[in-house]
Amino acid sequence: MRATLFLPFATTAFLIATLAHLGFFDLARLSRGMRNLGILGAELVPPDMGILSTAGAALWETVEMSFAGTLLGFVASLPLSILGTRRLFSSWVSGFARFIAAGIRTIPVLLWAIVFVILLGLGPLAGTFGIAAYTVGYLAKIYADLFEGTDPEIMEAVQSTGASKWQLVRFVILPEAANAVLAQVLFMLEYNIRASSVLGFVGAGGLGFVIQIYLQTLDYRRLATVLLLVLVVVLAMDGISAWLRNRFLLSAQAT
């Protein structure tokens, strides 16, 4: 009983201490913040629709970057995750593959974008590669864990037919994981569309550049238009991925 109560109490105490340290209980500051929020909110409306074509073009560039970057990253993550599957390869090989994925993942997407701006110059190409790099690190880890979780009975049954390692990948591991693989790519695409709208901050193309200008010039009514556009795209992505899930992940709901 004492042991079961300890964890929630300790967690709550730690949460309160952290919040205090972060200034959460500074009421004067919070009330000032609320006033400012009111002012900011008032300045956001009505959104300035005059910039729709400029923002629309930048938004399309962001969508292109996310789409190409996600697909490139996905393709590169597959071999890396297969090599990282401990059940298929020695701990040296799988450990090395996992180390690479962890290294890539350590660097946030914004820093990857800066690296590629340095390598490739300003523009959407740098952003695309930045997104691809981050996607590789993330998906390789998720997929390697997923592949490792393949039902051992199925692995044993197919191994006993004399199947080789690569035949197991082709006929057991990938088909068994297919639903989750697709679901993760769709999630990553949504995530990248949201994440890539800030890549323009570092000159890596897309909507971020426009957002940055409107923020710096305190042009909040135009900023509101841009944010609304992002919302529309994220909602559209939600719809598209729901449709794809229904179309391709049939077996998850069939009886």
């Binding site: 009975e153 049954a157 197919v158 690569w166 035949q167 082709r170 006929f171």
Partner: protein
């Protein structure tokens, strides 16, 4: 049954001991010898080591001590492909790939005979596809050829698993609790089909079961396993009682 003098047994186990990570012994000095073409059923209460015994016999687990040989050849000395030409294994949950079709699952029985590059492109030789279709037909499920395994019923999945093993052409098939969650009539029909197929190709079957009626129907020999020990040719009363209580239909 038809064992000739001097002919090696299809499957022979000698003083098999097994324990997981040095805990209690799960198998104790198991010895058995199965003549070619004979169908052997292993019965016993749950948790008595049936699955472990079958996995050791199939070469999936290494025994802690003792040895298993198939047609006189110790299985530790065989490569995975050599072993796959001799022994087929069907786990309790069948080990089918749910997202693939029935025919694709059956074709996996041929993986031991085709190259990696053919397999990666999914290019099975025409002859293998014909044989896979014949195996589905033999198990009475040719009409579900293209259906995803996910959409098949329990009985249909059992048929697909057997068809996959038939395509593998092993000389010994080891099956764990086969047909045990089907109703009696269906299980009986499937076991009949297996017997026909096995007798035609002179395959030796070793199956664990817990239903005495089916065991008598299918097995030429019924072995009782209790607390990791085996009594060849003898069914202990407790095993019988356990089996009866589980049938109770």
């Amino acid at each position: 049954m038809t064992q000739q003098a001097g002919e090696p047994y299809a499957l022979q186990a000698d003083r098999l001991w097994y324990s997981y990570r040095n805990r209690d012994w799960i198998l104790r000095a198991i010895a058995l010898a199965v003549p070619q073409g004979q169908h052997t059923v292993i019965m016993g209460p749950s948790g008595t080591g049936k699955t472990t015994l079958l996995r050791v016999l199939a070469g999936i687990l290494q025994p802690s001590d003792g040895s298993v040989s198939v047609f006189g050849r110790p299985i530790q000395q065989l490569s995975r492909r050599q072993l796959s030409a001799l022994i087929g294994y069907i786990p309790q949950q069948l080990g089918l790939v749910r997202n693939l079709s029935a025919i694709d699952n059956v074709l996996m029985g041929a993986l031991g005979r085709i190259s990696d590059s053919q397999a990666l492109l999914g290019l099975f030789p025409r002859a293998e596809i014909d044989k896979a279709e014949a195996a589905l037909d033999m198990m009475g499920i040719a009409h579900k050829r293209s259906a995803q395994v996910f959409h098949l019923s329990g009985g249909e999945r059992q048929r697909v698993a057997i068809a996959r093993t038939l395509l593998q052409h092993p000389r010994v098939v080891i099956a764990d609790e086969f047909a045990s969650d089907l109703d009696l009539a269906l299980a009986s029909e499937i076991l009949d089909r297996i017997r026909t197929a096995a007798d035609r190709e002179n395959i030796t079957f070793i199956m664990s079961m817990h239903r005495i009626g089916l065991a008598r129907q299918f097995g030429d020999d019924v072995l009782a396993l209790k607390n990791g020990e085996i009594n060849p040719g003898f069914i202990g009363n407790e095993v019988l009682e356990d089996a009866r209580s589980e049938v109770a239909l």
